[in-house]
């Protein structure tokens, strides 16, 4: 690195086959409505947290499904579970449960339980 004054950049590409999606599988199993999301962004629009900071439940949904867990880990905790998203969701996705499950899953994941 020092030798050249630069280092090899890390890619932004999602490597779907490389990523592990146990998190998503866990949630799919426990909360099937997770599949129903059509990424309309209604949840993010009404979100109490998003009013104060960069936070998008819609994006987290996608990232979980793609297995980009770290980004999820760092953001999920911002949720206040107030439930507005559940009320506005046009597909009846049980958003709050997804957040709670994802939190549990991440914990289990760290403890090698899933």
């Amino acid at each position: 690195m020092d030798k050249f004054g630069f280092s090899i950049s890390k890619g932004r590409q999602i490597d779907y086959d490389f990523n592990n999606r146990r998190l998503a599988e866990y949630i799919f199993e426990k909360e099937p409505s997770f599949r129903l999301c059509i990424e309309c962004g209604g949840c993010s629009a009404t979100c109490t947290t998003a009013n104060f900071t960069a936070f998008s439940l819609r994006e987290l949904n996608i990232l979980i499904k793609r297995g980009e867990n770290d980004q999820v880990r760092n953001n999920l905790r911002k949720c206040m579970l107030c439930g507005k998203c559940t009320l506005v969701c046009p597909r009846g996705v049980n958003t709050r449960n997804i957040v709670v499950l994802a939190k549990n899953a991440l914990q289990k994941y760290d403890e090698y339980e899933i």
């Binding site: 129903l36 059509i38 990424e39 994006e59």
Partner: protein, 342 residues
């Protein structure tokens, strides 16, 4: 005296028109370039959104056309036609001369030639197939890779040759989205172990029961929908297809390996239609489909008096719309034959 109408094209629209005309006692010559009628119906296994067998619709249409008033000319194409005062004389490739009081053009559509989207490697990579190929597989009740294995991961690419300036088609073919969803469900049903991904630009679920089908695909069959246009496909050493796409909803490029890639080929003006447009001086538009005299109330009426359009030769339509459009054409023709006015 009895009136005589020539119907060009023995697909859904053509058959419906012929059937309806014959019902009201008008003689019909039905000209079909293929050996048998039915058009694209013959290549399709099941139809969206209810997934009924396409043969059932075919049966209905055949039933309509089993009538004495209808003269069926297969393996026939039109070489030339002239309009002399108020009737047409038509020359076919087999040299027979027909005269008619009116002509109904039902030349339908061709599927977009997927090889034109070189980056997807249709015809170059194994296991890159089109929606039509897949239907054939379903008909033959055998869905396997070229090496005989069963596909585990299958990608479905929407909008191949539609909404694509590079492909020269700015329009939306309207049916590919729902076809994709239908085929995704069928694949999951046929191969319960498989994972199916749909790569879409927009989900255009406009028709009746389309959205419900989409929901079912997600809820019941666990089909994954990824929003983004697949930019390129390539073969890996283990003979998988590596595709690149932007997951536009994650805002990140994404790559994944698939066993099979199904291209949702769009609809284009048929070659037959183009030829007819030339020899008959029929107007075609930007999208190369026939241009109707009026988009709202004259969609069956051409720029040539006595020539009418039926079905997908004017724009992409599903079967329901095609049949309605065909019946509308019949009304136009009858009106015209009665008082010689379009």
């Amino acid at each position: 005296m009895r009136k005589h109408v020539i119907v060009i094209g023995g697909g859904v629209a053509g058959l419906e028109v012929a059937g309806q005309l014959s019902k009201v006692g008008i003689d019909v010559s039905l000209i079909e370039k293929e050996t048998k009628t039915g058009g694209h119906l013959n290549n399709w296994h099941r139809l969206f959104p209810d997934r009924r067998k396409s043969s059932e619709v075919k049966e209905y249409l055949d039933g309509m056309t089993m009538r004495s008033e209808i003269k069926l000319l297969t393996d026939t194409t039109i070489e030339a036609f002239r309009r002399t005062r108020n009737h047409f004389s038509v020359t076919t490739n087999r040299g027979n001369e027909l005269t008619a009081d009116a002509i109904i053009v039902a030349t339908g559509f061709d599927l977009f030639k997927s090889a034109r989207k070189e980056e997807y490697g249709y015809g170059i990579y194994n296991n890159v197939i089109t929606s039509a190929d897949l239907e054939k597989m379903f008909t033959n009740d055998k869905i396997v890779l070229t090496n005989g294995n069963v596909p585990e991961t299958i990608g479905i690419v929407h909008c191949v040759g539609s909404r694509d300036e590079k492909a020269g088609n700015l329009y939306c073919s309207k049916l590919c989205c729902v076809t994709a969803v239908k085929q995704a469900i069928e694949l999951r049903e046929y191969l319960p172990e498989s994972k199916v991904f749909c790569f879409y630009m927009d989900m255009r679920m406009g028709g009746a029961f389309y959205e419900e089908l989409y929901r079912e695909a997600q809820e019941k069959w666990g089909v994954s929908f990824i929003r983004g246009k697949v930019s390129e496909a390539s073969e890996t050493i283990e003979n998988k297809l590596l595709i690149k796409v932007e997951d536009t909803l994650a805002g990140r490029p994404l790559k994944m390996k698939l066993n099979m890639l199904v291209l949702m080929a769009g609809m284009e003006m048929s070659e037959g239609g183009k030829k007819l447009a030339e020899i008959g001086g029929l107007k075609t538009g930007e999208n190369r489909f026939f241009t109707s005299s009026d988009n709202h109330f004259g969609s069956n009426v051409s720029n040539v008096k006595g020539v009418f359009y039926a079905g997908t030769c004017t724009s992409p339509m599903n079967i329901t719309e095609t049949i309605s459009h065909a019946r509308a054409a019949v009304v136009e023709v009858i009106g015209y034959l009665k008082n010689g006015e379009n």
